[in-house]
Amino acid sequence: MAHKFIIERNTQNLKAVRDFVNRTLTSMSVPDSDIAMMVLAVDEVCANRMLHSPTRVMPNDIELEIKNDQGKLTFVIRDTGDLYDINAHHEPDIKQLIADKRKGGIGLLLVKKIMDTIEISRSEPYTVLLLHKSVNMA
């Protein structure tokens, strides 16, 4: 069964993204504590894509797909925004961010801490992110 969701790239839609992830992982019997963390990670990636990866072509949507291979979860996030390599993202110093009174800069750090691996690729006109996470199924 495909678990797909398509929504316009607008931060007002992040709640709908979270609800989709929550609903889908619950239907897969993923433990609640894991669901909360993965909802956060997907929310962070989608927010980052919406805010910091502009698109110049239509559609202005984000496609989200969740696959489950016996507890090996893959979140596929696809949009037409620019490619940004999360894996090359410099890990910020929290104390320095506090000293600088910065409000941003920790979203991708949260994603890296929650997910096992992240893959990013470009297949014109799309940027595709794969977030992988293995969980112990009940």
Partner: protein
């Protein structure tokens, strides 16, 4: 997301209701900035109805740590669910921001 503010004695209470994410965190930022601009020195952030927080919300709290240290103000968070507290804990922010169980403990910290 809704924010309600109230004043009880010297304590200024900011109650957050709903989800604090990239689309709503600006409201919390404005509420804290307004409290500071009004000279509030003892701020309690009531998280009883805060159901979700992302890095955008964490970032707002994080950005005021230095200001509060500099000007002698204090901010305490209370009534936080375990699910929300776990998000603060991922980056160790639960060690840098005062989080207590309830209003009475918050007042005791600020006294």
């Amino acid at each position: 997301m809704h924010i309600n503010t109230s004043k009880e004695q010297e304590y200024y209470r900011i109650a957050i209701e709903g989800d604090l994410d990239a689309s709503s965190s600006i409201q919390l930022d404005e509420a804290i900035a307004a409290a500071r601009a009004n000279g509030e020195h003892k701020i309690i952030v009531d998280c009883q109805e805060l159901h979700y927080i992302s890095s955008a919300g964490l970032g707002v709290f994080m950005s005021y740590i230095q200001d509060f240290q500099n000007d002698g103000c204090s901010m305490v968070l209370c009534h936080m669910s375990e699910k929300v507290k776990q998000v603060f804990a991922i980056l160790g922010l639960d060690e840098l921001i005062k989080i207590v169980p309830g209003i009475d403990e918050a007042k005791a910290v600020l006294a």
